[in-house]
């Protein structure tokens, strides 16, 4: 049985191209064949989760069935009633599999949960979001079969970008007109080839070629070293090009299928401050957290008047929000610390903006200060990526 990791090698892209060809021809002729799309999706999921990884495949099927039943039941319930505890219960149940998967390595000394599979954390976002929109009443015509299509959309199943139910449905049902679709094809080809440059050249150069050398030197010299500085920046570059490359593949592939999956990165290292950084880095994740965690928490705190000032509300929520994101990455000290550092950075960022507002004209603003801001933000981010990388864990605690 064949088994391929998505977007890893030429044969995957070749198969992708062949499988997408009928979809492309159909769309150019103004038609969509949903049954064929489902078939292709199923085929690629089988490629990813079949063969030696069949246990992951079973876990995926189990997970999808579980989430579909859960969300469908909640939809039925929501049509009659709207109790908060049922909503809370539904959300908790929706994230339960993810929690088990993330807890297992901690409890079982590095072992992996049998219900885990590549991409479970990303699917959880989609499921929770659907429950929340059902609760809000913004999603009225929920359809279990379509929910499965949405969850198991193969281009983005393993690492995002995280799409939204209603946005995805609009694209899914619509057939773009020919000019628009030609434009999408053009973009799709561009994205995929840019992805090649990112993932197979730059990410390889930084991650496979440079990083091990610097890590080795850094490990040989305990504490601070120039090699560690090198690791910091090289890892940051690797992380960006690897993840952005992957996202480009996923977005490019969706474009071929006539679906405008949202972009995940927008020149993140050119951000002037941390807040802007999160509007440019792993965008679909940070927006998900913004829309479904941050805004909801703020809404809740303000409505219940938990904190006196809006500022305190915002600050507390920043830290909760980013902290939670840290936990989502995994239950290790470095992921969690990474989350909280970004939470505090957002607080500091707001404080600085307030200071600037209070003293208009007193703080200079020109090209140099802007360049300086970009430089500062970049360095700060790279430092937090060093924490995120887990390399410090090896450096400090291995031996």
């Amino acid at each position: 049985m064949v088994s391929l990791t998505p977007y890893e090698n030429p044969s995957y892209f070749l198969m992708l191209f062949v499988a997408l060809l009928p979809i492309v021809i159909g769309l150019l002729a103004g038609r969509k064949f949903h049954w064929y799309e489902t078939l292709v999706s199923f085929f690629f999921l089988l490629m990813t989760f079949g063969g030696p990884k069949w246990h992951q495949g079973l876990a995926l099927i189990g997970y999808l069935v579980f989430e579909m039943i859960l969300v469908t039941l909640y939809d039925r319930y929501r049509k009659q009633k709207n109790d908060t505890w049922v909503f809370v219960l539904a959300v908790l149940l929706a994230i339960a599999p993810l929690v088990v998967v993330k807890m297992t390595p901690l409890l079982a000394h590095g072992g992996n949960a049998i219900i885990g599979f590549l991409g479970i954390s990303y699917l959880t976002f989609k499921a929770v979001q659907t429950v929340m929109e059902l609760r809000d009443g913004t999603l009225k015509d929920y359809n279990p079969w379509f929910f499965l299509q949405f969850m198991a959309f193969f281009p983005s199943i393993s690492s995002g970008p995280i799409d939204r139910y209603r946005r995805f449905r609009n694209d899914y049902e619509k057939v773009p007109d020919r000019d628009k679709y030609l434009g999408m094809l053009q973009k799709g080809v561009h994205y995929i080839f840019l992805g090649f440059v990112y993932k197979f050249m730059l990410s390889y150069f930084f991650g496979t070629f440079l990083l091990p050398r610097f890590e080795k030197t850094a490990m040989a010299t305990p504490g601070l070293s120039w090699a560690l500085v090198g690791v910091t920046y090289i890892y940051s570059m690797y992380l960006f090009f690897d993840f952005a490359g992957y996202s480009l593949f996923a977005v490019g592939t969706s474009y071929f299928m006539g679906i405008e999956t949202p972009m995940n990165f927008k020149k993140p290292f050119l951000a002037h401050n941390i807040k802007e950084f999160w509007n440019r880095w792993h965008i679909t994740l940070s927006f998900w957290f913004r829309d479904f965690i941050y805004m909801r928490l703020v809404f809740f705190f303000m409505k219940k008047k938990v904190f006196k000032s809006p500022k305190t509300t915002a600050n507390v929520t920043y830290i909760l929000n980013m902290g939670l994101m840290g936990f989502w990455h995994g239950l290790t000290w470095y992921y969690i610390l990474y989350g909280f550092i970004h939470g505090f950075a957002l607080v500091a960022n707001d404080w600085w903006i307030a200071v600037k507002k209070k003293h208009p004209g007193r703080i200079p603003h020109n090209k140099f200060t802007e360049a300086f801001a970009i430089f500062m933000t970049f360095n700060f981010v790279c430092f937090t990526f060093l924490i995120f990388s887990g390399f410090l864990d090896k450096l400090l605690f291995a031996r």
Binding site: M1, V2, S3, L4, T5, N9, L28, G51, P52, R178, L182, L185, Q186, V189, P212, K216
Partner: protein, 421 residues
């Protein structure tokens, strides 16, 4: 619409056709010429080990003798085998296969592409005791010299031996074995003692074809060039191939190059690598142990391959710089134990050409640095190699024993050798 589609996909289609043409054309596009072979013989580049085109081309000429080893090859002293063979009209030229980080496992897989060339031939192996550490070969170093070509070749040439099964298992224990899922699943079949599937074979054939073409096209472009180093050293040698005169020059250079330390270590090595942290090294190696290691099983794989190819091999066991060993606390009795154990593994299976230099670590200018052979050391090696290669040797008679793959053997204490069966 057609025009627009062509604008989008045209360049892609053209690029794909050109690439496929290059990768799947049945022609040898890039012939390996004499100069490339010559350069490759001393280049120590990873692409020589990873590939097969250059190795095969060079070893098709009888004058190249394969030398398997590791970092010692990169020390081009005046008496380095490649320098001596270049200067004097010897009837052989070493083809160096080894670089920092290459150990038995790398050699086992890189040999697979030159089995034909190794058959009924002579070869030299320089064994480093430092390979035989408790954790065995470093996965990262291994992956640096491992290639898809090696994997595909290994899988396509299965004969169903136990060694292959062990090798597949070992490869699967490395991240390199999982780089390609299809290869990983084929390796799993071999490890389980099964044949690879028809589809595996079809897939691997294409993979092999592509990787081989890539190797032919690009390997010779990225060769490092050590010709100048070799030539420069060769100039210092006396005009006549006379060991007394060469020794004089070796000692002269050794003396000149080891002035900044008391260990007899080459000046620039000492200055660059040791001087700053010299206090840290005091007694640093007192717990080092080279007698218990998975490397013994990896080494057995290499021996098995030699036996299968009927290669007549001379093994060299270099010493450790004794002054340095005393300083770092490295145990000589442990080193003696290592020599004993490795010699047992060799001799009990019929590998009898062994040059054991493990007691020579204190001879003047024998070592270039801490663990690598130097001026008079290489010369000593030459005195053994030259007749071995020049003279006709009796056919070796190998009697291989799979017990050397066992965990028990890998971690056997040399003190228990006498009772080992």
């Amino acid at each position: 619409m057609k025009k627009k589609l062509w604008m989008i996909f045209g360049p892609l289609v053209v690029a794909a056709i050109v690439l496929l043409g290059l990768l799947f054309s049945p022609f040898k596009i890039n012939r390996i010429n004499k100069t490339t072979e010559r350069q490759a013989a001393t280049s120590l580049s990873p692409n020589v080990l990873k590939g097969e085109a250059i190795k095969k081309a060079a070893l098709s000429h009888k004058e190249y003798v394969p030398f398997f080893g590791s970092s010692e090859f990169s020390r081009f002293d005046v008496t380095h085998p490649s320098v001596l063979a270049t200067k004097y009209d010897r009837n052989y030229q070493p083809f160096l296969m080894g670089a920092p980080g290459t150990q038995s496992l790398t050699h086992y897989f890189q040999m697979q592409s030159i089995n034909k060339e190794l058959t009924n031939r002579k070869a030299i192996v320089v064994i480093s005791p430092q390979w035989f550490v408790k954790k065995g070969t470093d996965p990262k170093a291994f992956s640096f010299y491992f290639s898809t070509l090696q994997a595909a070749n290994f899988l396509l040439t299965q004969k169903g031996t136990y060694t292959e099964q062990v090798a597949a298992k070992r490869l699967l224990s490395m991240p390199s074995g999982h780089a390609n899922d299809q290869v990983a699943s084929a390796l799993q079949r071999v490890a389980d003692g099964k044949k690879i599937t028809k589809f595996d074979r079809f897939y691997l054939k294409n993979l092999y074809h592509m990787a081989r073409q890539e190797d032919r096209l690009f390997s010779s472009i990225r060769l490092s060039n050590n010709d100048e180093k070799v030539e420069k050293q060769a100039k210092d040698l006396p005009a006549k191939d006379d060991s007394k005169a060469i020794e004089k020059e070796a000692i002269r250079q050794g003396k000149e190059d080891t002035t900044n330390n008391d260990f007899g270590i080459k000046n620039d090595f000492y200055k660059r690598r040791l001087s700053k942290k010299i206090n840290k090294f005091k007694n640093f190696e007192k717990d080092f142990n080279y007698t218990e290691s998975p490397e013994f099983a990896d080494f057995q794989m290499v021996l098995n391959q030699f036996a299968e190819d009927h290669t007549n091999v001379m093994f060299i066991i270099p010493p450790v710089n004794e002054k340095w060993a005393k300083y770092t606390g490295l145990s000589q009795s442990m080193l003696d134990g290592f020599s004993m154990k490795i010699k047992y593994q060799l001799q009990s299976q019929g590998f009898n050409n062994i040059v054991d230099l493990s007691q020579d670590g204190a001879k003047p200018y024998f070592m270039q640095d801490t663990i690598h052979l130097g001026w008079t050391g290489w010369l000593d090696v030459d005195k053994h190699i030259q007749p071995f290669i020049k003279d006709k040797q009796p056919k070796p008679n190998y009697k291989m024993d799979n017990k050397f793959y066992s965990h028990k053997w890998q971690f056997l204490n040399p003190d228990d050798l006498s009772s080992y069966k």
